[in-house]
Point group: C2
């Protein structure tokens, strides 16, 4: 399974317009430090799949890829705004798996165009080419579903946005044994959890509970990146900041390697 | 008055994802032929103003500009989607002048952040730094307002989206005598007008009625661009395709010049 993080921030991408925060200044100077809203691309056996579409220019990034469909976690703009342009694609409609949410985002479901909406239930298993996809409930309003993505080669879970994990999701993931997860880590350690987003303390607890080979941090912003820079020993072995647009090969247990 | 067309397409920007239409193929090969959703930047006396914010990367384009506010025509995503990221800007809130539309676009008005919404009435005159701004009704659902932008140096009207012009708007513009207009020209000549967007026949009639120095065509797409390429004599003197991101100096009557 190939995995490419295309967007690893929340709505507040880096650099933030007009911000003089050191993280935004650095991102303006060094394009590799830019971070875009939630979006990942996975590919296996010639099938390409988006996990969220928070990145506006996702069409340009996918132009030469065997893109086949999208898994949406929820309808906040920073997770679906890339579908505004993508829906006007030429060619055949493509499936967009998404939670049952009547509100949606603006007119995305009214003017679907090439978006073939497929509403899913938690823990409903979906066969999609080489992928087995399983949506799992997360703790975030509106209705938000993480996505467990499985091929014969690897198991990867995309878990954003959330504060902690619901009991049934934690139980499912413990049984499923992901090779790698990517999870909302919006805040540095907090005394009390935020109701909608993880802090690092929650993430490290989940990392310990699931014991994946790698846990990547998502929904990054100026504050958490700055805190991590000032606390270089805060992340234990196996917990990492993802690099955007640098494809990885994900192979079952202990064989996670850079693609070259 | 400086004028910079940042976005001159509708929702279907160029190139369209996966399209093999000659206009999209050409736009992929030649970046100067790309067209983004509706967006223009005007500047006078150190005050910068956006007309619509259909372009997603508008923050990057404005980073070094004395940007002060936005005039929104209506709440279709291809006119406001650039506000999704822009609202999380650092610094002070900035005014966003917009029509009274209860529906809006997703959560843009619920989570305004730096967007200081100012609801306006048709023909209400607004003093904004060196600008006098007057919104004028257009023929497009939902409630849609064109924007007349005046400085001591020049008068420019941004008239998209619309099919023809309402009688009161045409009368106002005739009296106002714009130096230049930019107007929805979604379709090649049609036998019967489209209810929501201009065709070229309608645009040429408006150009003749208002007699501005220059009429620029907006809301461009593969079909109208192809038709214009195949009918090179279709545009009379004074009617032109805008070039994106090439600043112009707009000076009263007969002195419209490229900035260099």
């Amino acid at each position: 399974m190939q995995l490419n993080f295309l967007g690893t921030s929340g709505a507040k991408s880096l650099p933030l317009f007009r911000s003089q925060h050191p993280q935004s200044v650095a991102a303006r100077q060094d394009p590799s430090r830019r971070r875009h809203p939630s979006c990942a691309y996975v590919e296996a056996e010639g099938w390409g799949l988006l996990l969220d579409a928070g990145r506006f220019d996702v069409g340009e990034l996918l132009e030469d890829k065997p893109f086949r469909g999208v898994c949406v976690t929820h309808f906040h703009p920073d997770h679906v705004q890339g579908l505004f342009p993508l829906r006007w694609a030429a060619g055949e409609p493509f499936p967009v798996f998404a939670p049952q949410d009547e509100v949606g985002c603006a007119d995305l479901t009214t003017w679907s165009s090439r978006l073939d909406w497929r509403r899913v239930e938690p823990f409903q298993t979906i066969d999609f080419g080489p992928f087995v996809l399983t949506p799992v409930p997360l703790n975030h309003e509106p209705c938000c579903l993480g996505w467990c993505v499985e091929t014969p080669a690897a198991r990867f879970a995309w878990l954003t946005d959330t504060s902690g994990l619901p009991t049934e999701t934690l139980a499912y993931l413990r049984g499923w044994q992901p090779d790698a997860i990517a999870i909302d880590c919006t805040y540095p350690p907090r005394e009390t959890p935020h109701p909608a987003h993880n802090d690092l303390t929650q993430v490290l607890r989940i990392h310990a509970q699931l014991a994946p080979e790698t846990t990547w941090l998502l929904h990054l912003n100026e504050a958490i990146l700055q805190w991590l820079e000032e606390h270089p020993d805060a992340l234990p072995e196996g917990v990492a900041l993802p690099v955007e647009n640098q494809p990885l090969s994900l192979i079952h247990r202990g064989n996670l390697t850079l693609k070259s």
